[in-house]
């Protein structure tokens, strides 16, 4: 068999089950695009490569399967970097294929040349520069194996233009890259873990993205119910248990409900499953769960002991470990502890002022949730709106909530929503965003209009970089600077300019009705929701403080 490097890439991507690629063509990737044109793979043309990378995020995060984005050399590659770094921090199986200048021109400061390989070393799980078309036979399947094995992560394949056009002969196409089998937990360790759990009097399960990556939400639920153990979640663990489940405590950490952090103060066994003890979740790490022993199960051995030294650490696929653990867990309704937890929750509930008003932050989140329904996928950007959505949206299942956690990238929400809608066209997608965040990848409104996807953009508009303003108020003596957008663009007009239907809850006496109409009509639309400009997200743990030191609205009101 014979093929050019570009043709080979397309056939190997097809064999990996890739149906959609997001990208922008350029000089150094024209051969790749020529082969793509003849392929069965559908191309979605973004308007900035960062948009293309986040579209791939949306596809990967919504489905749990690897997603591919393309960029050309030079600025195409540098524009992908933010999305690649985001995938590294949130462990997303993203594969970026970048064009590169011809081999003979590498290192000469050629037109649109950058050291893509060097630039992506720190932000990928692994990367490649294909030095011949023949190398692609190994590289592409290996890239998929690496991206999906163990802890998922991004892989970059940099392909010089003359490698794309070089012809290679081969006997057969390689097998598609598949995930390596995960490490199996030692049965002795599983027995020790069961013993720790059974002996605990005030245990808490803290679940994160690793549970979702492992598909372990159902077994986690069975374990929690059997052993009577309350469950808290990191930002990326939201949806593991339905919000309404009696054992679910909500999100932990910087913007947790007061009771959630207080429960962790009192717990005597913290069972961390698929989490990495990120500082937003732990607060001051040395004072996180001060009375607790720690059981930590994660597929990445380098996470055990990185932040907190566990009493017992297991390296395993967390779902498999929980399946092994479940039969050893003694049924226990833990009445005393559950009763203490209920008392804390009753005394210190999450306070959600304005939850009835669709023009208030909690109100727009709750009303959107009710109208969008439990099958909707929800993406967000970064900032106050993200935290209000995390606190108040009633998530019901894994992969419903797509948000940039580790890197916290403004500009994530709209392209991620596009990707989710492309991957799961039968589902409605809602994107909560802010006026700061939306502008960062606003050009993708053109992509949204072109693809005609069912994405509803709900814009919490306060004419500010809200969380920056909040921090300046709370921790910098109200010395506001560079956190106010003095120019206040008309976002409804902008959306219409891109060919997207727009509604404005600030321009109507019937916001409920307008919101219902906007969310009920098929197709893309933007809903501008002007909100209070000086609202703060509460509670808040000051950066660097222990989680028990929460500031809330009542104590802060002057």
């Amino acid at each position: 068999m014979k093929a050019t490097g570009a043709e080979l890439i397309m056939r190997l991507l097809e064999r990996q089950g890739i149906a959609i690629v997001a990208g922008i063509p350029g000089g150094a990737s024209l051969p790749l695009y020529d082969a793509l044109r003849a392929s069965t793979i559908r191309h979605v043309l973004a308007r900035h490569e960062q948009g293309a990378a986040f579209i791939a995020h949306g596809m990967a995060r919504a489905t749990g399967t690897p997603a591919v984005c393309f960029g050309t050399s030079g600025p195409g590659a540098t524009n992908l970097l933010t999305g690649i770094a985001d995938a590294k921090l949130d462990s997303i199986p993203l594969i970026a294929v970048t064009g590169q200048v011809p081999r003979g021109m590498i290192g000469t400061d050629a037109f649109q040349e950058v050291d893509t390989y060097g630039l992506t070393v720190p932000i990928t799980k692994h990367n490649y520069m294909a030095r011949s078309a023949g190398e692609l036979l190994e590289i592409v399947p290996d890239a998929f194996r690496i991206a999906t094995s163990g802890r998922p992560g991004p892989v970059v394949i940099d392909v010089p233009k003359d490698v794309q056009t070089e012809t290679v002969e081969f006997v057969r196409l390689p097998e598609p890259g598949r995930p390596d089998p995960p490490p199996a937990a030692d049965p002795a360790d599983i027995a020790r873990a069961a013993a720790l759990l059974n002996a605990a009097e005030r245990p808490v399960l803290l679940v994160g993205a690793g549970i979702i990556a492992s598909g372990a939400a159902p077994v986690l639920c069975r374990l929690a119910e059997r052993a009577g153990i309350p469950v808290a979640a990191t930002l990326l663990g939201l949806g593991v248990l339905p919000d309404a489940h009696p054992l679910f405590l909500g999100m932990v950490g910087m913007h947790a409900a007061r009771s959630t952090n207080l429960v962790l103060e009192e717990c005597d066994l913290l069972i961390g499953l698929g989490i990495r003890f990120d500082d937003r979740a732990t607060g001051k790490a040395s004072e996180f769960c001060p009375r607790a022993r720690i059981l930590h199960i994660d597929i990445d051995p380098s996470e055990l002991g990185k932040i907190k030294q566990p009493t017992l650490g297991l390296v395993a696929d967390v779902g498999e470990a929980l399946h092994d653990l479940l039969p050893l867990v003694i049924p226990n309704d833990r009445r005393a502890w559950r009763s203490r937890v209920s008392a804390l929750r009753a005394t210190h509930p999450l306070v959600t002022p304005g939850a009835d008003d669709p023009c208030e932050p909690y109100g727009i989140v709750r009303h959107t949730a009710a109208l969008a329904g439990p099958d909707a996928i929800v993406t967000s950007d970064v900032g106050q709106h993200q935290m209000w959505a995390a606190q108040a949206f009633p998530f019901s299942r894994p992969r419903q909530w797509l948000t940039s956690g580790g890197l916290g990238t403004m500009g994530f929400g709209l392209p991620a929503a596009i990707g989710a809608a492309l991957a799961l066209p039968d589902r409605r997608v809602v994107c909560f965003t802010g006026d700061g965040s939306l502008l960062m990848n606003v050009q993708e409104l053109a992509t949204l209009a072109e693809e005609e996807l069912d994405v509803k953009i709900v814009l919490l508009n306060n004419a500010h970089l809200g969380l920056v303003r909040q921090q300046q108020e709370l921790f910098y003596g109200g010395r506001y600077h560079a956190s106010r957008f003095h120019a206040e663009p008309d976002f409804a007009a902008i959306a219409r300019g891109f060919g997207i239907v727009a509604h404005d809850l600030g321009e109507t006496a019937e916001p409920h009705a307008v919101l219902a109409r906007a969310l009920g009509e098929p197709g893309p639309c933007l809903v501008n929701v002007p909100i209070t400009r000086d609202a703060n997200v509460y509670p808040m743990v000051p950066p660097g403080a222990p989680n028990r030191e929460m500031i809330d609205g009542a104590s802060h009101a002057s």
Partner: protein, 98 residues
């Protein structure tokens, strides 16, 4: 050579990007590498790398992070290799005057 140093011996794949991966890992994790020796092994498909590092409580994390690199095939402590660094250090010292 200070007393609190030790050597890690790595077997790595031999291709142009591997040193970038090793040095980049140390830089971004804030690990301090005092010395590096790298030589290709027979056949040229792999190289051996000796890393002179501080022998402290971060070692376990360093080794865990190195093992995650796709191009790293093996990592082992090799404290005896310090004499190899001593020999190289003697070799590169400027000649004594007079």
């Amino acid at each position: 050579m200070q007393a609190e140093q030790t050597v890690l011996r790595l077997i790595v794949r031999n291709h142009p990007g591997v040193m970038s991966h090793l040095c980049g890992l140390f830089a971004r994790r804030g690990f301090n590498v005092e010395g590096i020796l790298c030589v290709p092994l027979e056949e040229g498909a792999c190289s051996a790398v000796l890393l002179l590092v501080a022998d402290d409580r971060r070692n376990a994390q360093i080794v865990a992070q190195l093992r995650k690199l796709e191009d790293v095939i093996e990592v082992h402590p090799d404290p005896g290799a310090r004499r190899t660094f001593d020999a190289v250090a003697r070799y590169v010292q400027p000649a004594a005057p007079g």
